[in-house]
Symmetry: C2
Subunit: 293 residues, 2 copies
DNA sequence: TAAAAATACTCCATAGGTATTTTAT
DNA sequence: ATAAAATACCTATGGAGTATTTTTA
């Protein structure tokens, strides 16, 4: 008979690749964990772990099953927090993930409002790129994430919060310059973007569509702020989400809107379907929309 | 600490709404089950079951959690059968669901081929309408279903097997009649369909699109065979999946193809993502495609 | 040979069984 | 009054700890 305990121990092995460390992680002794893993292997009729000298390795089956075990344990953990669902939204601990191209602009306005409206909420904020957020949400390390939609994860539920327009940031070009820009006009420009891995980079590139603007391979900054300084000093142009305009704008760059239809990205929330975070998400979306003004 | 045992007992309560019967279902005594349910309620900090004289009722939380518990237990059961994944596809027990508008035409050809190619396979066939198949697949009562896609269930994985053309079945109208029919021409016809609940009925109606043909409310047969007899006797026309043409055709009806683009429905397989039935599904699709000829 | 996993054995927590009481209609 | 769930109490399974042996690089 498979037990949750066995699955928990297996995931510890998957994380540590070491029986002793896995046992410590589970607050049990190594023989106790060894026995449970053996029982699990017997129940499944498959070898899950290759015992080796330096470190242990999971077999193919072991990898697959550990992956499913993570999902099952996350679902059970969600069950445990389900009690909260009956109570007020946004109360108690909430682990919130948020992407770097939103966090610095949204949080300063949203956090005070959140704390005012939901004093019982204990937030833990994690800022990193979409891919990591998605993985951590799936593994149950986060409860809710703020990212650009869609995420294409059938095990997540999502809720759109608002659309964020893309603006062109460039050195001022005087009164003769067009008040609106066509994406095609980017072809001849020198485009500065965030480094690989940032979804904002991918979104900016998709605005360009089939165009291949003059990309600086050498660049690839890790913050929008850096990119904007480069723009201000004449190194090129960039696409700036409108949300960042207030913070990142300066008198040394002008921000120009695209011609219709203006390219946007959809910012929203995502959480595991198996979790009971729907009410929290809806409440949070309200706050975010207000914070955006 | 939540255990799988507790979840299993809770689902038994959900099914029987009776502690004694639930206990029998789990092969334990009533006090044992009562205690586990109480422990679960304590762990979750919520009342799950309303104890009443006649029968017990689940609270709202209880219903929600029982639903999630079903999913978790199905995922664990899938884990247990994962061992099979390493072995040959289509071996051992497989519970296969199939919709009524496909079963009688596909199974007579597919089953002999299946048994010939996969002698180790032990099939249990369940024939019912899509909605019931989907529910039973989700609850872990079935392993694989054959139905018209898409199913719009993010917890299922699907694989298309083939497309099935719709034909118009009507009384012969002599050599002058059009050799191809436009859907718009259905508007003036008396359309006979299966009763409510059959996906074939919905699909036929969607072929008509915004048209509102002359529908017999009084009719609504429960088998295609009955519908075809009505057609043969001049009661109206119907849409027949090409797959059924060979079996259901007769010299008293003519089968006419639609004009391009011919309306079709996609027939395919679905299984729980958490199950390890992908290899089985791919193997089965091959057999189905051959059986169709 | 040395680190790490498996085995041996003991103990105790807890699930389950039987008998009984409490509850609700 | 009675069916059904809860409680009391006992038993036994099995998970965990300590000590030790086996494995393998």
């Amino acid at each position: 008979m498979i037990t949750l305990r066995q699955l928990r121990y297996l995931t510890a092995i998957a994380e540590t690749r070491h029986f002793g460390k896995a046992a410590k992680l589970c607050h049990v002794t190594q023989p106790a964990l060894s026995m449970q893993i053996q029982d699990l292997e017997t129940s499944l009729g498959t070898q899950l772990v290759e015992r080796r000298r330096g470190q242990v390795a999971l077999t193919q089956s072991g990898t697959d099953i550990a992956e499913k075990a993570f999902a099952i344990l996350a679902a059970v953990a969600d069950l445990e927090s389900h009690g909260r669902a009956g109570r007020a939204a946004l109360a108690g601990p909430l682990r919130l993930g948020i992407i770097p191209s939103i966090a610095p602009y949204l949080l300063p306005r949203a956090l005070p409002a959140l704390h005012r409206r939901y004093p019982a909420l204990t937030l833990r904020i994690r800022e990193t790129q979409t891919k990591a957020l998605v993985d951590e949400l799936a593994h149950g390390d986060l409860d809710l994430i703020v990212a650009a939609l869609p995420l294409d994860r059938p095990d997540f539920e999502t809720l759109a919060a608002f659309e964020d327009r893309f603006l062109v940031a460039r050195k001022p070009r005087g009164p003769d310059a067009a008040k609106r820009i066509d994406p095609a006009a980017l072809e001849s420009e020198h485009l500065l973007l965030l480094e690989e891995g940032h979804c904002l980079r991918d979104q900016a590139l998709s605005v360009c569509g089939t165009l291949s603007p003059n990309l600086s391979k050498a660049f690839g900054a890790s913050s929008l702020s850096t990119v904007m300084h480069l723009v201000a000093n004449g190194y090129g142009i960039t696409l700036l989400p409108e949300m960042a305009a207030e913070t990142e704008g300066s008198d040394k760059v002008e921000l120009v809107r695209f011609s219709e239809p203006e390219p946007v990205r959809t910012i929203g929330l995502a959480w595991r379907r198996s979790s009971a975070r729907g009410a929290d998400a809806r409440a949070l979306v309200d706050v975010l929309q207000e914070a955006r003004g």
